[in-house]
């Protein structure tokens, strides 16, 4: 099970017949008319198509989310009371906003930026999201500048507050691992990895987790966050000597061991680093030099 399919499933389109699509479209149009009145306060009876499309997008997003919450299929839109479904969806999304805000508060207190400009600006940008987000009319939108790249990005299917909540969950998960290490060691590693990391869109978790996994495979001291080219070559040799399934299992075991050692007990941290370990595999088996690059190895 991947992270996207697990804790944060992507909202799926269901196969509908043409006739069913038309019925849903007609029912949505009636709901959309109410949204237009809300949006224009009754001052405009017509809207530009792109403005109407945004409102419709929001409606569909909210309804689909509520269907997902209630475990109902898309076909339910054919018969359900859409007004009720919409209201329930908005209430559910409001809960998501509150959850996301708690995560944001936690992020503001705990996330170490190590001087990363994009991370600082993204944290500020997410603050803007909570001021600008309109879940009644534009629930699908993300009114925030989010530049900082996560090690494992949020899935394409998530939008609106669902995206923000997932982004923050991932950011906090990454931070939990990073702050298990001494700041000076992390800063030194980041500098080795990318001397301009403060001004670039560089993920902080990526080099730290890679080194932690590498050191675990080498049975080295995790807290050093330091791997030599010789050690990197050892990791390369070990992984290429194994069939891919065994090598991936080896990496996943290392991920589990990293979590144990660092006392990262929450399941998501474990799932996360396991998936990261799998993404490292193709980069680690290219060549010893490539492995050196992954670990930002130092002589």
């Amino acid at each position: 099970m991947t992270i996207d399919q697990g804790a944060y499933p992507v909202l799926q389109e269901a196969a509908l017949t043409r006739e069913e699509e038309n019925i849903i479209k007609a029912r949505l149009f009636s709901l959309l008319t109410k949204q237009v009145r809300l949006r224009t306060q009754g001052d405009h009876s017509s809207l530009r198509e792109e403005d109407a499309a945004e409102l419709l997008d929001s409606l569909q997003f909210t309804l689909r989310y509520q269907l997902y919450v209630q475990g109902m299929p898309m076909h339910a839109l054919l018969t359900a009371d859409l007004n009720t479904l919409l209201r329930q969806g908005q209430e559910a999304l409001q809960t998501c906003v509150e959850d996301a805000h708690k995560l944001y508060t936690e992020a503001l207190h705990s996330v170490q930026t190590f001087g990363s400009r994009s991370l600082k600006e993204t944290l500020a940008g997410i603050g803007q999201f909570f001021r600008a987000y309109d879940l009644c009319l534009y629930a699908h939108s993300i009114p925030a500048d989010i530049d900082y790249q996560l090690c494992l990005p949020v899935g394409d299917g998530l939008r609106g507050v669902l995206y923000i909540r997932d982004y923050l969950t991932r950011l906090l998960t990454e931070n939990k691992l990073v702050i298990r290490f001494a700041s000076d060691r992390v800063a030194a590693l980041l500098h080795r990895s990318s001397p301009d990391y403060r001004d670039l869109l560089v993920n902080l978790y990526d080099p730290v987790s890679a080194n932690a996994l590498g050191l675990m495979l080498l049975k080295g001291e995790l807290q050093t966050l330091r791997i030599t080219p010789v050690q990197a070559a050892k990791v390369y040799k070990r992984l290429v000597s194994l069939p891919s399934a065994a090598a991936l299992a080896c990496l996943r075991e290392a991920a589990d061991a990293v979590c144990d050692t660092l006392k990262l007990t929450d399941p998501f941290s474990n799932t996360y680093i396991r998936q990261v370990s799998e993404t490292l595999y193709p980069r680690l088996i290219v060549s010893p030099q490539s492995a050196c690059g992954v670990f930002s190895a130092v002589p």
Partner: protein, 151 residues
């Protein structure tokens, strides 16, 4: 946005719009202006075409009933020109809505168009078609007779 609605919904909307026009038509008849059923159908089709051309979607009964209420007492409009005037006004209305980025509400825009039409345009649709759209904003801001504002 895909606006192909099911035929039943289209029928329902058509019925609402026709009823709106019929009601306005009764008022216009008091001023000697009336439309036949086929003219009303023609107006609805023309409004649909304007909306398509302007990339807009209508969520109410359309602007035609309110245009009829607003302009039916005009001294510049005769029974013979009523239909053509409405055709032109509805097209202008949606054009202005777009050009002004919906800065004016429907009622404000109707009021501004009416003021100019009966003011400096002196009933000329050509004048309305060729004027700068900021005149609509000025017309709305002017308290008195729009015709006085001749700068």
């Amino acid at each position: 946005m895909d606006n192909s609605l099911v035929p039943a919904l289209e029928q329902a909307r058509l019925a609402i719009r026709t009823a709106g026009l019929q009601k306005s038509n009764e008022t216009a008849e008091l001023h000697g202006l009336s439309l036949s059923d086929s003219q009303m159908r023609g107006l609805i089709l023309a409004e649909d075409e304007s909306l398509r051309a302007m990339g807009r979607l209508e969520f109410g009964e359309g602007i035609l009933p309110r245009l009829m209420y607003s302009f039916c007492d005009s001294p510049y409009i005769s029974r013979d020109s009523w239909m053509d005037t409405l055709l032109a006004l509805q097209e202008l209305f949606y054009t202005f809505k777009n050009e002004l980025y919906d800065a004016l509400t429907d009622d404000e825009l109707l009021e501004a168009m009416n003021k100019i039409f009966h003011g400096r345009a002196q009933g000329s649709l050509v004048y309305l078609e060729n004027m700068a759209t900021d005149m609509l904003l000025k017309a709305l801001r002017s308290d008195g007779d729009e015709d006085d504002d001749d700068d």
